[in-house]
Subunit: 139 residues, 2 copies
DNA sequence: CAATAGTTTAGAATATTTCTAAACAACGTT
DNA sequence: AACGTTGTTTAGAAATATTCTAAACTATTG
């Protein structure tokens, strides 16, 4: 209970966030598991299930703080709900339109050889590739 | 007032939608103008401004019907709000994160030479490339 | 024109996210 | 260890976008 937390404490301090009870608990849930995609509501439910009392507002605050700090990434594939990703490396996604599930595509599995030049006065933030798929009814 | 409508009437009939007053008016607003991106609320306001009385529910119904019929396309770049596109050809987008504006990128200006194979039992719906840009503060 | 099926509508409902402002906790300083 | 400061958490309300409901309306066919 003491040692495992030292990692998340260090990580939070590194990005300039106070290691509060709620942030540590959420960070532990998020970063002890492998790479995954989730919504705010899902994380809130997961926390509740693990006996961690944290408000939904704090979950949202934390997700945005972590995203800004670069230890989480937000993925937009569905209007009406935001998804977050513990995998912050350069990669892309399959999006299953029926189940609303996301699946990583390694950056090396998509090659873009030609990109347009950016509009005047803009900075590149990110190039997102989303491959939208549906269930094949005859399979 | 009679002739211009024949085009939208034909177009609606072609895709199996009754040419109702509201659908004709919205189709005219949408397809007489050049390619553009817009939200439901924007179209509703534009209709009101043009003296067309149509409920927001009908605007949403119509946008979804047109999208399903393939004469509009929905673009997801921002959680919390859907955008639609009168350009249904194969193309991609710049998304200006500060102003929430979209700009078309012709399919020929992006070349993807390598794509992963689709997961088992899925059908490809679309490959969306979104180049997210922000305002360059020092320009 | 009557019958039918499809459409429109206002308003309520839903869903997700953000806001508010008061209570609380982390942490550097005494 | 207590203090003061600042940052954080919280419940609940509010904001936002979209969908639902079911009654009124209209296009189409016969
Ligand atoms: Mn959905
Ligand atoms: Mn936004
Ligand atoms: Zn991912
Ligand atoms: Zn477009």
């Amino acid at each position: 209970m003491q040692r495992p937390y030292s990692q998340v404490i260090d990580r939070l301090k590194q990005v300039g966030l106070r290691p509060t009870r709620q942030r540590m608990a959420l960070a532990k849930l998020l970063f002890d598991a492998g790479d995954h995609h989730f919504s705010a509501e899902q994380l809130h439910n997961q926390a509740s299930g693990a006996g961690i009392r944290v408000s939904l507002a704090t979950v949202y605050n934390t997700l945005h703080q972590f995203t800004k700090a670069g230890i989480l990434r937000e993925i937009i594939v569905s209007s009406g709900r935001s998804y977050f990703d513990t995998n912050t490396s350069d990669h892309h996604h399959f999006f299953f339109e029926d189940s609303h599930r996301l699946l990583d595509i390694d950056a090396k599995d998509i090659t873009i050889t030609k990109l347009p030049k950016l509009p005047e006065g803009t900075l590149l933030e990110r190039v997102d590739v989303v491959i939208r798929v549906s269930d094949n009814p005859k399979s």
